[in-house]
Amino acid sequence: MKPPESWGRYPQVEQQTHALVWRTDALPRRDGSLLPHGLGRSYGDSCLNAGGTLLLTSGLDRFIAFDPATGVVRCEAGVSLDTILRLAAPRGWFLPVTPGTKFVTVGGAIANDVHGKNHHRSGTFGRYVRRFELLRSDGSRRVCAPDEHPDWYGATIGGLGLTGLITWAEVQLTPISNPYVLQETVPFGNLDGFLDVARASEKDYAFTMAWVDCLARGKKLGRGLLYRGNFAPPQFDGLPLARSHLSHGVGLAVPMDMPAFCLNRLSVSAFNWLYYHRQNGKPKQRLTHYDPFFYPLDAIYAWNRIYGRRGFLQFQCVVPYATARDALKEILERSSRGGLPSFLSVLKTFGDIPSPGWLSFPREGVTLAMDFANRGEKTWKLVEDLDLLTRQAGGAVYPAKDARMSPENFAAYFPQRERFIQYVDPSFSSSFWRRVNPVSLPFSLAAGRGETASPPPRSLLAIR
């Protein structure tokens, strides 16, 4: 088995592993700290535990019950969303909320309170978690639900795996009449165009998200394509679609780490130009299977290897509507100027439905996600700047995608941090958690904004 790493493949750390087999088993006794680790789709270090032990949950992959009448599924925490879809979709049920990959575990989806294209209408994944069991290192087991141990429920949803091990969970699925999505692609010429078309689409479309050409500048800054859609109504039931759209299999694979020169400003900008102009500037409608609509990148196995051995840094922020226009403009301009191409940039509006977790990331506003190939100090500096802009705009950065946010920024983004800390299992920790909560705080939480962030670690500087 390959040693576990995070999806961004940075940082690389030394850690022990312990494969969990049965949900009724006790937690192992280890010298260092423990951290549950599912399919490793978190990008940074929130799924890593340097010097400690990862509890591998992929062996906890059993169903416990599924009721096709109510759409309630109960399963062990290591069951993947892919596995749930294979069981439930043919019986007319779909995930209430799904991230852009189906290769995440239920436990991971809860621990990161993940969001999807329907946030403006449905909120986060955690809202559909009816109950789960939390196993603590003291051996205690608690069933947590909105009306049963609600404090543990709120701490564990979005709690980054730190409050204990989720052994099983019960999730309310959502009904569909067929596996098809009626999708429309609408081009927009700049950031203002995005905000207009995204807001206007929220009423009639359950799903929206936009790809943005983050190398376009000037008047074209923030141009891109907005994808919006709804599950197809019953009259499309039983419609035959191309086999390629129905297969769950993995079509393509990135067979090796790509050399760094494959991704540069020229290649990304050529790709973006072609991609944008494929549309001829007009909206386009089509019927598609849910698989390519929700999970286009899952079709390319190990796509993270296009960034090569040095991996990549992902940055995802959310900024409130009040500051969104200016902040996003500045962020897009800065990354466009930085000369570091972001291959995949995604814009999406978040609605005002509250997230159930104390440390949940989604909140009302506009979210922007970008990938940056790891080019050492230069990348670090750019992402650090974007982080600062986010903080100044009153936004937040997503821990599941982060490998570098500072303790002071974490505290600013997650005001319920103090309350959460009391629920962290004394034997659980992660590389992320130790990074954003150093034993002695190097700052005063009351200190003003815009402090200089901590310098990049030596390891990152060394790989330039």
Binding site: A19, V21, W22, R62, F63, I64, L87
Partner: protein, 245 residues
């Protein structure tokens, strides 16, 4: 196989096999020693589409239970047309060399309990003139090696028993399938360092079922082990005894 008794259903290979059978809509009767673990596998199978799942907590080293167990499976599923015998222990070779009790425990679980169960089942299947008996053996039974010959002997003896049984039942339309997995990444081998030869339990389960479907006699899973074991069996004993295997 539509009505299948799975012995040792909580083992990793058996669990993967149970999932495939459940997805096909088979009816299953599962046994295991640990009630909580067996319950987890039973519910998983029921959720994944098994037409019917019943289970019994039983220690198969208690041979006196075997008759009643088979009878219970027949009653619960209204007949049986398939068996997957998957229980077994790896044992500790060093411990077995020191202690006859440890050696006997391995032989008892891997060989004697299997023979006892197969005696009951073979007579049933022979009488009904139908059925498939799938038994999980091991490549270790092909040749004795100093590193695990006690385990190997238990599987080698099992292989010979199955050959005879196959020969006897051929005229009764009963298939006896000997499945020989190589290294499998399971809790049984969790302590061993892994290499490229380790296969997943899912892969072994697929190979097992495809062998059962086509009523094969002896199969190596994955197939590469047929070649590896051919080479290992071909080495002359005078050379083999000096090798560190």
């Amino acid at each position: 196989m539509k009505k299948v008794l799975v012995l040792g259903a909580t083992s990793a290979i058996a669990q993967a096999t149970v999932r495939l059978l459940a997805a096909r809509g088979a009816s299953l009767y599962l046994t295991g020693r640990n009630a909580a673990n067996l319950d987890a596998v039973t519910k998983d199978a029921a959720t994944r589409g098994a037409a019917k799942v019943a289970s019994q907590v039983v220690d198969l080293n208690d041979f006196d239970t075997h008759e009643a167990l088979v009878e219970a499976a027949y009653t619960a599923l209204d007949g049986l047309d398939g068996v997957v015998l998957a229980h077994g222990v790896l044992g500790d070779q060093a411990e077995a060399q020191r202690s006859w009790a440890a050696t006997e425990a391995v032989l008892r679980t891997n060989f004697l309990s299997a023979v006892s169960l197969l005696t009951v089942l073979a007579n049933r299947f022979e009488a009904q003139k139908a059925g498939t008996l799938v038994v999980i053996s091991s490549v270790a039974g092909d040749r004795g090696r100093q590193s695990n010959y006690v385990y190997g002997a238990s599987k080698g003896a099992l292989n010979v028993f199955l050959q005879g049984l196959r020969n006897r039942l051929a005229k009764s339309n009963v298939a006896v399938v000997t499945v020989k997995p190589g290294f499998v990444d399971t809790p049984m081998t969790a302590h061993l360092p892994k290499n490229k030869l380790f296969a997943s339990p899912e892969k072994v389960a697929r190979g097992l079922l495809s062998a059962a479907d086509s009523r094969k006699n002896e199969v190596y899973v994955p197939g590469i082990w047929a070649l590896i074991m051919l080479i290992i069996r071909t080495i002359p004993e005078t050379v083999f005894k000096r090798m560190k295997l």
